[in-house]
């Protein structure tokens, strides 16, 4: 199926459209949201004195849409807290939009790395077969059984300084096994198709067969794997941040939730602190699932049923 045709069918699929809409809105929020707030990524109001900037907290525990005033270097500034403030006087909306940005970063880097590794390992195992396959699959099965989270915990706990980059790296390096298994199964089924045999008979090299014949038929599949890895990485990072093993500096959606729980946001009724960070993640990942189901229906007409 050519890419153009695939896209045309996909855009007729309502699930795909809903998913794309959700993810696009979230991406715009992550990309441009920080421009719509005067606060920094921690939710402080930056006040400039000459060359240095002092992050200044505002009034704590304000509900959403509160008006507030900050005494800056250039006099009094009026600000609106779209989503209120936390117990330390930090703007929630700013934390949320910057947090979304780093979630997207982790999703792309970690999800991309995991997809790449899964693709490579699954592909080599499926195509080569024999002992290569056997040993790679043993490794995959072992990695599959060890809960990624446990592995992440033990690695992250011993890293004294952690940034978003390192976090993405360790998530990417541990999240590939199921992708490898899925890609291997796909490769096995493609490898013995007639067009591949034909290519082999006509004397094409292994590399030509892999990139010219098999890969184009797997692109759509790989894209779906990436979408799931993207979502999975974001969820893993949020969990890791929540138990205190996220970036040692800065803010993220998981750290927001961790602090909300540590400072009893729920018992105090500060829903605007405890609910939105998880809600945006859940909505974003729901959008990803919708895209995936939509694509699945495009590639497997059987799933489409009579309704659409």
């Amino acid at each position: 199926m050519s890419l153009k045709r695939t896209l045309r069918i996909a855009l007729k699929n309502s699930k795909f459209k809903v998913g794309i809409a959700i993810v696009t809105i979230m991406a715009i929020f992550a990309l441009l949201g920080p421009l719509t707030t005067p606060f920094d990524n921690m939710g402080y109001y930056p006040i400039k004195f000459g060359n240095t900037t002092f992050p200044k907290p505002t009034t704590p525990s304000l509900p959403p849409m509160s008006q507030d005033t900050v005494y800056g270097s250039s006099g009094v500034v009026n600000v609106t807290h779209y989503l209120g403030t936390d117990s330390f006087g930090r703007d929630i909306y700013a934390q949320l939009t910057y947090g979304m940005r780093s979630s997207f970063f982790i999703g792309i880097v970690a999800g991309g790395l995991a997809t790449l590794l899964g693709l490579l390992i699954g592909f080599v195992a499926g195509y080569k077969g024999g002992w290569t396959d056997e040993s790679l699959m043993i490794l995959t099965n072992i990695m599959l059984v060890i809960p990624t989270m446990a592995l992440l915990i033990i690695i992250a706990a011993y890293l004294p300084y952690r940034g978003t980059g390192i976090e993405s790296l360790i998530i990417g390096l541990t999240a590939w096994p199921w992708a490898a298994r899925a890609v291997r199964a796909q490769t096995l089924s493609l490898k013995n198709r007639e067009f591949v045999n034909l290519a082999r008979l006509s004397g094409l090299s292994d590399l030509r067969i892999i990139f010219g014949e098999i890969m184009p038929n797997m692109i759509s599949y790989v894209f779906m794997v990436f979408i799931l890895q993207f979502g999975g990485s974001i969820l893993a990072a949020v969990g890791l941040d929540f138990i205190g093993l996220g970036p040692t500096r800065g803010m993220s959606l998981g750290i927001m939730l961790q602090q909300a729980v540590l400072w009893n946001a729920v018992t105090l009724g500060y829903w605007w602190w405890a609910i939105p960070p998880g809600l945006v993640i859940a909505i974003l990942i729901t959008g990803l699932y919708f895209i995936n189901t939509g694509l699945d229906e495009v590639f497997n007409p059987r799933l489409r049923g009579g309704g659409e």
Binding site: L144, P147, A150, Y158, F242, I243, T267
Partner: protein, 333 residues
């Protein structure tokens, strides 16, 4: 050799290897990472310079850091196999094994019912959605949303609704203050009252995943040739669904292995939300207080639990899928 035996030997081999690797990871990572765990440990005693001097020697000895690496590795194995996981710093002087032993029952009481209940209810709902297109369009977004929620966030949501807004359930702990854990009716009642929200958090999120999986499988199966054939023969709707359901079930059993890892991780975070005294809560204390023995111990316990559970699932799978028995006789391991 019979097929089932071969299958079991292979699985046992994989799990033994995994356990071996897990213990090795648990040994290597603290030694490989930058920073000095002993320095961090000692910083807790910074106010007592005399004690620090003495403790440094003690910790070097306790970790066995003055010995060659292979000797350290062997003695680490020796300790692990004897159930000796060191002494907790945070709960000093309690041994880590003792702390974990006290936590495990609380974990099992949460994990096992959540896994089993969500599996059955999720598969049942998924099958209904897969059969009924109209219902599916309402149910599917809900399933997706549940599956997309971080476990602990769902826990926060539930505690906001049911504790803060409605005041139905307690906010934290596994039992009320003033009650001593025992097998009395009074304690069990109190425990269940505290157990409901953590259970629901795990159950609901997990349910979404199972339902989606089952829904997709049923839609595939219903369109399969053998179902078409049965339909042509005039078999009843009931018979058709019975066969489709049976085939759709198999991937759902294999899926348990992957889901289990996620559930265990979710369990860790949910316990933190509710201050529920299982492994997750203990682990959080370990992380917050840089209690490395505790973290290492919790890691091993989590892995071991998952390994045992996976092995059970594999046994179950061999029982329900006759292909396992035949395939392992044909081509060998």
């Amino acid at each position: 050799m019979s097929g089932i035996k071969r299958y079991l030997i292979r699985k046992t081999l994989i799990y033994t290897l995994t356990f071996f690797l897990a213990v090795t990871i648990d040994f290597i990572i603290p030694r490989m990472m930058p920073g000095d765990p002993i320095g961090v440990l000692l910083s807790r005693f910074a106010t007592l310079p005399e004690a620090t001097k003495y403790l440094h020697g003690y910790f070097v000895q306790a970790f066995g850091l003055n010995k060659p690496l292979w000797e350290q590795y062997l003695s680490f194995w020796n300790a692990v196999l004897h159930g000796d996981l060191g002494v907790s710093i945070y709960y000093y002087p309690k041994p880590v094994t003792e702390i974990l032993k006290a936590a495990i029952p609380y974990d099992l009481a949460l994990l096992f019912p959540a896994l089993v209940a969500s599996w059955f209810v999720g598969n049942w709902l998924g099958a209904i959605a897969g059969k009924n297109r109209k219902l599916d369009s309402y149910l599917m977004p809900v399933f997706y949303f549940l599956q997309a929620s971080p476990y602990f966030w769902f826990a926060i949501l539930l505690s906001y609704l049911f504790t803060f807004k409605l005041g139905w359930f307690p906010i934290s702990g596994a039992y009320s203050y003033g009650i001593i854990p025992s097998l009395s009716w009074e304690f069990i009642k109190d425990y269940l009252y505290h157990w409901i929200l953590p259970f629901l958090s795990l159950f609901m999120v997990q349910l979404g995943g199972w339902a989606i999986g089952m829904r997709n499988m049923i839609i595939y199966e219903v369109e399969a040739d053998y179902i078409r054939y049965l339909e042509a023969l005039g078999a009843s709707e009931r018979t058709l669904m019975k066969h489709a359901f049976k085939n759709a079930m198999l991937p759902q059993v294999t899926g348990l292995a992957i889901q289990l890892g996620l559930l265990v991780a979710g369990n860790v975070t949910v316990q933190i939300v509710f201050s529920y005294p299982g492994i997750g809560y203990v682990l959080m204390q370990g992380i917050m207080n840089q209690d490395y023995f505790l973290i290492q111990g919790a890691f091993l316990v989590i892995i071991l639990t998952v390994l045992i559970a996976n092995f059970t699932i594999d046994l179950l799978y061999a029982l329900i899928d006759p292909r396992v028995r035949t395939s392992y006789t044909e081509e060998g391991a």
